[in-house]
């Protein structure tokens, strides 16, 4: 595996939150700093040789997944959607969907300040994963109980908004009023997670706080993210969906940015994810899962995944090896095997049985169980059997193991490693 690169500051631009207008912040391409050569070099893999396109190995990966799921009973009438949230086996959630910002509105959402339920209620899932304060630095304190001036914006909400702005910046190189632009982007996309609606219902003061926080992130994004050469074929928000298990399940992946042309001799595609700050493992899980989907889709693995944090203006990257993807695939297989059918209530337009709530229908009619009790996201021991069915030895890939040193901004990330 490629050694992990520490999150170096991409540029020295540190912007004061107070200098950013709450709304109407005009961040224009003309006013930005010069392109960050360091970030560009790292997106390209720092000039190191990329791995050879191992098409036979990637085909073997697909065959292994199909073999492992061959005995899965499934349901002919139910299409199971498997996403990166399916890997969230121990994220303190009763349903992994609860931690997916795109499909999380079937549960009671945390408000913009990370609270669940009524005002002053217990902190929700978002707080359990850490919060981002006004300076964009990860903090351990939850929002519950914090006074008004200490409130922090929910990472889930902020992440959703920042990802929309990132797509706009990469595509158009222009951001006007950050919150207005992000809301327009969400609405144009159909607002699948209900974030725009959530913000619409916020009191004016909280909405203003969200706008101020978002303006800061937009400013940092514009200051640090360089123009991408169009010859790299940058595409923001590309969706992938790969059927597995004979078409009974579909794996869906959506990185924030994809760079590179289809591979010929060597792996050529790099995936980039964006996060507003420390939101636990979610950005990395999203990218590892997307790397697996891209490998199954194209027949060649990406050469690198990178996470850009708008809170700190840093970029972290990891090289992708085939053995890493086998480990992710093992996690997916384990999640699918433990899926239980939920009660259907109707039939979708495509002929599949659907569930009561639209959000649930979107992700399929199976509930993916969380991991075994006591197992946390970063607490898997190498070689432990997480499938829950006692099938050890059939997994070709190494188990996940938590690294002792976590780069800042992506605390608790599980990095696939070769088990000793």
């Amino acid at each position: 595996m490629t050694p992990a690169a520490g999150p170096l500051p991409v540029s020295g631009a540190e912007l004061d939150a107070q200098s950013v207008p709450v709304s109407g912040a005009e961040v224009d391409a003309q006013s930005e700093q010069l392109p960050a050569a360091d970030l560009v070099a790292r997106l390209r893999g720092r000039g190191r040789q990329r791995p050879l396109a191992d098409r036979a190995g990637c085909a073997g990966l697909r065959e292994w997944i199909e073999d492992e799921l061959a005995g899965w009973p499934g349901d002919r009438d139910v299409l199971v959607r498997i996403g990166w949230w399916s890997l969230a086996l121990g994220d303190a959630a009763t349903s992994p969907w609860a931690v997916d910002p795109e499909f999380s509105n079937h549960t009671e959402p945390a408000d913009a300040f990370g609270r669940r339920g009524r005002r002053g209620g217990a902190s929700g899932l978002a707080n359990a994963a850490g919060v981002v304060n006004a300076a964009g630095v990860a903090g351990a304190a939850g929002a519950a109980g914090a006074s008004d001036h200490e409130r922090t914006v929910s990472p889930r909400l902020l992440d959703g908004l920042v990802r929309v702005l990132f797509r706009q910046w990469v595509t158009c190189r222009r951001i006007g009023a950050p919150l207005a632009d992000a809301l327009a982007g969400l609405r144009a996309s159909g607002d699948p997670a209900g974030l725009a609606k959530e913000i619409d219902h916020l009191p004016v003061g909280e909405r203003r706080a969200v706008a101020a926080e978002l303006a800061l992130h937009a400013r940092r994004l514009a200051a640090t993210w360089p123009p991408i050469d169009p010859r790299w074929a940058p595409r923001a928000g590309e969706r992938w969906s790969v059927p597995v298990a004979g078409g009974r399940a579909v794996m869906v992946g959506r990185p924030d940015l994809v760079l590179g042309h289809p591979a010929r001799q060597r792996a050529a595609v790099g995936l980039v994810g964006v996060t507003a700050g420390s939101v636990g493992t979610a950005p990395w899980r999203r990218l590892w899962f997307a790397a697996l989907v891209e490998t199954l889709r194209s027949g060649v693995q990406p050469f690198q995944i990178s996470v850009f944090c708008t809170g700190s203006g840093t970029l972290s990257e990891r090289g992708v090896e085939l053995q890493d993807l086998f480990a992710v695939a093992a996690d997916v297989v384990a999640a699918v095997r433990t899926a239980v059918p939920a009660e259907p209530v109707g039939v979708s337009a495509a002929g599949f049985r659907t569930m009561a709530e639209p959000a649930v229908a979107r992700v399929g009619a199976y509930l993916l169980r969380p991991g075994p009790a006591g197992v946390t996201d970063s607490g898997h021991a190498a070689g432990s059997d997480r499938s829950g069915d006692g099938r050890r030895g059939s997994r070709p890939g190494p188990a996940f193991r938590c690294r002792s040193e976590h780069p800042a901004g992506c605390d608790g990330v599980r990095v696939p490693q070769v088990a000793s």
Binding site: R55, A56, C58, A59, R62, V164, R167, Q168, V170, T171, C172, R174, G176, A180, D181, A182, L183, A184, G185, L186, R187, A188, S189, G190, P230, R231, A233, P234, R235, A236, G237, E238, R239, W240, S241, V242, P243, G247, V250, H261, P262, R264, L296, R297, S298, G299, V347, A349, A350, G351
Partner: protein, 305 residues
């Protein structure tokens, strides 16, 4: 009908696609086969509009055809509304056309140019009919919404521009930006609208079509590919119709190919009759008692469509 599934993943995918398209066989469709398909459509569908209106009330395209196959008894007549996903193909194909003609070097530049051109047309005084169908809607969007549309179109265009070995295809490809439309003479309420993305003149003299779709290939993908082949054969005759239809789902990486012959056309005509017939029956039920319908041929309740 010959169905050949998949392309080995162990190969260079862009080159494999180009080789399949350029190496398409000569057409094996005969004039008799096309005439038989047309006859089946005209004899099996009712002549009268279910609502008693004049003109075309059912525009049967690939999307509606698929919806009717999935749920014959449900109304597929949901009103059309623009969205980024629905516009991406139209914008992306215009951009791809620019790239293929050498007017733009990259897909993202081409998309930006297409959008700027469309906006200029909308803003021009006395804007007329040469405005793309999506342009007015796009111009009304706020900047954030416009960016989403542009991003979707860039993804679509980049997938096509980088996913095919254009050098291997040479100058044999035409980007098809307009649907092919075929009215059914004896059933004027129904019009077939075939949609393909590329039309390639193969080395053999035959014609290959490339159909690009979102998501993953459905179980009945051969219907999705056969439908535009039927429309093309009806519109252009046996020589101009496709001998091979290649389906490509970039989001899933799936490639499927369908060789077109007389049997395939007959089967597709039967499927179209079934789908259009179910729509007719549904529309007739909901048209109300005031509509006077004279079923002049095999009616919907007499063993007809």
């Amino acid at each position: 009908m010959t169905i050949l599934t998949g392309v080995p993943v162990e190969r260079d995918r862009p080159r494999a696609l180009a080789e399949l398209l350029v190496g398409a066989p000569a057409s094996s469709v005969t004039a008799t086969g096309v005439a038989a398909a047309r006859l089946k459509l005209e004899r099996s569908l009712p002549a009268d509009d279910p609502y008693g209106r004049a003109g075309v009330t059912l525009r049967l395209d690939r999307r509606r055809f698929a919806a009717l196959r999935a749920q014959p008894d449900a109304s597929p007549d949901t009103p059309f509304s623009c969205s980024p996903v629905r516009c991406r193909r139209a914008i992306g194909l215009d951009a791809l056309d620019r790239c293929v003609r050498g007017r733009s070097t990259t897909a993202s530049e081409a998309v930006a140019h297409v959008l700027a051109e469309a906006e200029a047309r909308v803003r021009a005084p006395g804007a007329g009919h040469d405005i793309p169908w999506w342009a007015r809607w796009w111009c009304r969007l706020p900047p954030g919404g416009r960016a989403v549309v542009q991003a979707e179109a860039v993804v679509w265009a980049v997938q096509l521009w980088t996913g095919i070995d254009w050098e291997g295809i040479g100058g044999r490809a035409v980007v098809v930006t307009r649907d092919e439309r075929v009215p059914i003479g004896a059933a004027p309420w129904c019009r077939l609208e075939g949609r393909v993305d590329l039309r390639i003149e193969a080395i053999s003299g035959g014609v290959a079509h490339l159909v690009v779709a979102g998501g993953a290939a459905p179980a009945d993908w051969s219907m999705d590919l056969g439908f535009p082949a039927l429309v093309s054969a009806l519109a252009r005759g046996p020589a101009g119709g496709a001998a091979l239809v290649l389906g490509w789902w970039p989001e899933s990486g799936q490639v499927r190919q369908l060789r077109v012959d007389d049997a395939a056309l007959a089967g597709m005509a039967g499927a179209v009759v079934s789908a259009a017939g179910s729509w007719w029956r549904h529309a007739r039920r909901h048209a109300g008692p005031d509509v006077a319908v004279t079923v002049s041929r095999a009616g919907p309740h007499s063993g007809g469509p």
